[in-house]
Symmetry: C2
Subunit: 206 residues, 2 copies
């Protein structure tokens, strides 16, 4: 049984989809704690309502990474709850070496584009500005880079001519809420292996 920690900075809609999947038995895991670098993030409120231990971790003075004292505090919380796997869900900071070494190949993220296209912030807006006709979402293992780790699963979304950033983002999120529980159940089942940049063991055509 996977002891899953979730880290996020925002509303936590992906956290909610994971929580729902755990409750429905679609992911054989426990969600042991939720961490946020944003004291006001709704993901913390969602966790509390669900009875999941929820922590604000002060990541200052850094603005774009989790390092130093904030990283040490996160590790302390993760260990206290026996977390053995981390799912990032809208976590807006780079994860650094301390956390990566403590959870080698055991941190995943979901990103709202078909990586390697449109890494970084507001990927749906980047895609719309670029003028692609297909975008989607990507679940991937986390490495030192920004959205560069080995890819587990991608799901596509057609871009419409009348899409706004909001409408495209909403359709991508629908696919995220399908993709992330699937990927985490594969992890819970021990199906996946990382070989170089490749993730082996994921079913095709999902």
């Amino acid at each position: 049984m996977l002891n899953l920690a979730v880290m996020g900075s925002g509303s936590g809609s992906n956290f909610q989809s994971l929580l729902n999947a755990v409750r429905d038995g679609r992911i054989e895991a426990r969600v042991v704690c939720v961490l946020s670098d944003n004291a006001d993030a709704f993901i913390l409120e969602r966790a509390r309502r669900a009875g999941v231990p929820a922590y604000f971790v002060d990541a200052s003075p850094f603005r774009t990474k989790l390092d130093g004292a904030g990283e040490a505090r996160a590790l302390e919380i993760l260990r206290a709850h026996g977390a053995d796997f981390i799912a990032l869900a809208g976590f807006m900071r780079l994860v650094k070496a301390g956390l990566l070494r403590a959870f080698p190949g055991r941190i995943v993220n979901i990103h709202p584009s078909l990586l390697p296209a449109f890494p970084g912030l507001q990927a749906w807006r980047q895609a719309l500005d670029y003028g692609v006709k297909v975008s989607g979402c990507t679940v991937h293992f986390v490495d030192e880079g920004t959205d560069t780790g080995p890819i587990i699963l991608q799901r596509t979304v057609l871009v419409r001519e009348d899409d706004t950033p909001e409408s495209l983002h909403a359709r991508i999120q629908e696919q995220e809420h399908i993709a992330y529980p699937l990927a985490l159940q594969w992890i819970a089942e021990g199906r996946l292996r990382i070989v170089g940049r490749h993730v082996i063991g994921a079913p095709n055509s999902v």
Copy 2:
């Protein structure tokens, strides 16, 4: 009726798919000539067998672009045959300002990836090496960059764990042979407009 010229450097499988579509009435166009920078390219042989005027254009001394005397010779041939639109089909050189100015918004290309991911050579191999789970092909208008112009149409291909570069390339080519005739018929119908980086008027969900 579109007077279409095709430029390629290789076997011309996309040229063949366009020719078939023209013959079947799926593209309302005439293929008025074929140009290649490679005297031995099979695309020239295909054209001759089909009774389409076929020309080798010597692009030396340049190695990666069509410029100078080669560009001038190409323009001469295109004009002589009344070409009013150019489809690149495996043309391995950058098109430069002279041709772009003579055919403004009237040159298209097909690329074997979901751009902006994997521009440049052997995109299917780049995709496989990166470890993506979804790739595909892109039809786009040509601008000064390498595979950077406004996107008309993209079709997706799932990457399999046992794919070789050859097997993935073959499945992407199947989608290219669907995508390119569709895009050219939309052009022949006068449906498409370029607005900044966006192509307006393409049907969704094809």
